[in-house]
């Protein structure tokens, strides 16, 4: 492929739509399911016109029952189809917990490997849209706790497309947490079919003083903070986690061994979150001896996401809070 001609500027949601179109065209077993994904085009207009191009048999509106819809998707996957099921908000996945955690994640194990559930769940998530406590959560860490699932968090249009195609190529259930604020973000996206490897983090910025591990939209905030810190002579390395389950231990450990300082930034509630897992993993590893400061976690406040826009902003890590924390860490003030 010629990279120069095959890279186009497109939005995160366009990249996801393109991935779905490629899959629908290439593989007759791929179907889309979800509430209002047909004529309405999806809660965030991600599926948009796909119903016109592929028809209602392959782009199916499901009734307002996440449990029912996810159950049908899991059943379809068991019979050999490859459903992509869209939740309107990741918060609503709680209604389908039984199908995700108890069925999709476990059937391969419980049936001795004789069956697999190649379903993909798409979950718009995160705060910043003024949608209040029940539509703004970041619950990806919950699913990081479930063996049998893969949990992805694309931060760029290129990854959003590549991860969806990789999820479809995976024989087991994959959950993709798409950030609502990223849908309109533009970036270069390769044409055609390609796979973003699952479980491989990306170093988005190299640095030597402090490692910032982030996921989803926090990657962009961390990069912006790192840019500001660079002006002060602080060199921050920013790692885009990309996959919560499995976690790319090697990339994180190598970076910690280099910088000796680690900060984990995530949008989920700070306690019992992604940061706890990564922090503990580093403490248990050979990188422990290289730590030259306590590990910092920056997560959401210990409260439901507020509706008030100022409080909503204050409740989750922002560029300025990331910048301040990384500065203290790099200056050995922590």
């Amino acid at each position: 492929m010629n990279a120069m001609t095959d890279l186009r500027l497109m939005t995160y949601s366009e990249a996801i739509r393109e991935a779905m179109a490629i899959a629908l065209e290439a593989d007759p077993t791929v179907i889309l399911m979800g509430e209002d994904i047909g004529v309405y085009g999806g809660a965030f207009q991600v599926t948009l016109d796909l119903i016109d191009r592929f028809g209602p048999d392959r782009v199916m509106d499901t009734p307002i029952s996440e449990l029912g819809g996810a159950g049908v998707a899991v059943g379809a996957a068991l019979t050999g189809l490859k459903p992509i099921f869209e939740f309107q908000f990741s918060d609503f996945a709680m209604l389908a917990m039984e199908q995700i955690v108890n069925q999709a994640a476990k059937l391969r194990y419980m049936l001795g490997g004789e069956a697999s559930v190649p379903v993909v769940f798409r979950l718009p998530s995160g705060s910043g849209t003024g949608a209040a406590a029940q539509h703004s959560q970041s619950i990806e860490a919950w699913f990081g706790h479930v063996p049998g699932l893969k949990v992805l968090q694309p931060s760029t249009p290129e990854d959003a497309k590549g991860m969806l195609l990789a999820a479809l190529a995976d024989p087991d259930p994959v959950m993709i947490f798409e950030h609502k604020l990223l849908y309109k973000m533009k970036g270069e996206v390769p044409a055609g079919h390609y796979l973003t490897p699952i479980g491989k983090a990306a170093i988005r910025r190299e640095g030597t003083d402090v490692t910032i591990v982030a996921g989803s939209i926090m990657v962009h905030r961390a990069l912006e903070a790192a840019e500001k810190l660079a002006a002060e002579g602080i060199s921050a390395e920013v790692i885009d986690l990309r996959s919560i389950r499995p976690i790319d231990h090697a990339t994180i450990l190598a970076s910690v061994k280099k910088t000796g300082r680690l900060m984990v930034v995530y949008e989920g509630v700070k306690a019992f979150g992604v940061g706890a897992e990564i922090s503990a993993m580093v403490s248990e590893s050979e990188a422990f001896d290289f730590l030259d400061a306590p590990i910092l976690r920056l997560g959401a406040a210990d409260a439901p996401v507020p509706y008030n826009p100022d409080l909503e902003r204050a409740a989750v890590p922002q560029v300025d809070t990331i910048e301040a924390a990384a500065r203290r860490l790099a200056r050995r003030e922590v």
Binding site: G260, F288, D289, F290, L291, D292, A293, R332, E333, V334
Partner: protein, 435 residues
């Protein structure tokens, strides 16, 4: 009736001890005589045995707490037994941290008010003052850097929050001055297959594991484990801040080498003898018996001129006169022997590293470390061998030392009887070592 676990007095002038680690967690079952916790005093570290069998309860002292001698640090209770919580005595008043360490008389344990068992767990938790914790605060990276550079964290002031030592605070040793570069890694250990409880051997200053060869020949059957000390033989060249650090490295190597063994016999010569004493002091259960040949650490005197002469010598002609101080009679060291010895010391980095080490261990011609308290505490059967013509360390040091040990004063031997009269030394080993 619960049995009180008290902080024992292990040193004549000890008023407090620092609880280093618990070997048993609260609520776990422990048997009488099993290792219960480690304490550290200014001079030594040692294991304390459980005074009774039962369940460990009411732990009032946590690792790092400085506790007065005689204070109750926990209780051993029977299954289902109800107990009263002792009052924690982990700290002297803030602002006068030195006051009680000067006091020779340990404060008596304070009687505690009776509390219902259910409230115990919370009320017994000691309030530790991190500010007055004597142990250095350091990041893992700083600890690693200090370990590799051979620097004691106690000697460093940290630049981080609350005085935390960070990697940048560990200044590299004086490489340029001494002309050698520190190396990393564990001490070099070799083994000889054989019968019986293995004999672990620690050589003396400026020697190495190969110096045991004459004795090994005279004592052929026993399984052997030899450790090369830091800056000796094939072990790494390291900056050594003091005896404590040297001992720590030996203990680490000992732990590694004896992991799969229930017990070993330990033989040490001179500086290796002092290290063997330190080892037996902190690993009493691992040491079946102890043989010390002219051990260092039993008094301040040492022939510093000989030490300096040996470490400085660059030619056989300048080495030989000093080597002849090691033996009962100068004739024992031939010119050829001196040449061979010089050949093994041809590496200038080794000589420089050993000279630095001598400056630390034998500053101003004095043995800076004192193992006499450890000798007094020994529980393993111990034999001490000393040449009657030892010119390096005076045998009067052992005559006046306290402790239970068999003493063999050897005629016709100087500071290195294992080389001068290996057959007679081997005979004593046969009598003394346990199987």
């Amino acid at each position: 009736m619960p049995v009180e676990v008290i902080l024992p007095k292990v040193d004549m002038d000890m008023s407090h001890g620092t609880l280093a680690t618990w070997h048993v967690a609260e609520g776990e079952t422990v048997t009488k005589g099993a290792a219960l916790f480690d304490i550290e005093t200014d001079k030594a570290a040692m294991e304390v045995e459980s005074p009774a069998s039962g369940i460990l309860r009411a732990v009032t002292a946590q690792p790092g707490d400085k506790v007065p001698v005689g204070a109750v640090v926990a209780l051993i209770c029977a299954e289902g037994e109800v107990w009263d919580a002792p009052v924690p005595q982990t700290r002297v008043a803030l602002g006068q941290p030195e006051a009680s360490s000067i006091s020779v008389k340990p404060p008596a344990p304070v009687a505690s008010p009776t509390q219902p068992a259910a409230t115990l767990a919370r009320s017994a938790a000691p309030s530790v003052e991190p500010l007055s914790d004597p142990r250095p605060r350091a990041t893992p990276a700083a600890r690693q850097a200090a370990r590799e550079a051979g620097i004691m964290l106690e000697d460093i002031s940290g630049s981080g929050p609350r005085g935390r030592i960070q990697a940048a605070d560990i200044v590299a040793p004086h490489v340029a001055v001494t002309g050698w570069t520190p190396e990393y890694g564990p001490l070099h250990v070799t083994r000889r297959k054989g019968q019986g409880v293995p004999l672990l051997m620690l050589h003396g200053f400026t020697a190495d594991s190969q110096s045991w060869a004459p004795l090994e020949k005279a004592y052929p059957d026993r399984a052997l484990i030899r450790i090369d000390l830091a800056n000796h033989g094939r072990s790494p060249r390291r900056r050594i801040a003091g005896f404590k650090e040297l001992a720590r490295m030996v203990v680490d190597a000992f732990d590694d080498a004896t992991r799969d063994l229930e017990q070993v016999n330990v033989l040490g010569h001179s500086l290796g003898g002092a290290l063997a004493l330190a080892l037996a002091d902190v690993r009493p259960r691992k040491v079946s018996s102890l043989v010390l040949i002219a051990p260092a650490g039993l008094g301040p005197e040492i022939d510093a001129a000989a030490l300096n002469g040996i470490t400085r010598a660059t030619r056989a002609e300048s080495l030989a006169p000093w080597l002849r101080r090691l033996t009962a009679t100068p004739e024992a060291i031939s010119d050829d022997y001196a040449k061979a010895a010089m050949h093994s010391r041809k590496d200038s980095a080794l000589r420089a590293a050993q000279a630095d080490m001598a400056a630390a261990l034998f500053a101003d011609g004095t043995q800076t470390f004192d193992l006499r308290p450890a000798l007094g505490r020994l529980t393993a059967p111990t034999a001490i061998l000393w040449g009657r013509q030892d010119h390096i360390l005076p045998q009067s040091q052992v005559i006046s030392a306290q402790g239970d040990f068999a003493l063999h004063l050897l005629s016709g031997a100087g500071h290195v009887p294992q080389i001068e009269i290996p057959d007679r030394v081997a005979r004593i080993l046969v009598q003394h070592l346990r199987d």
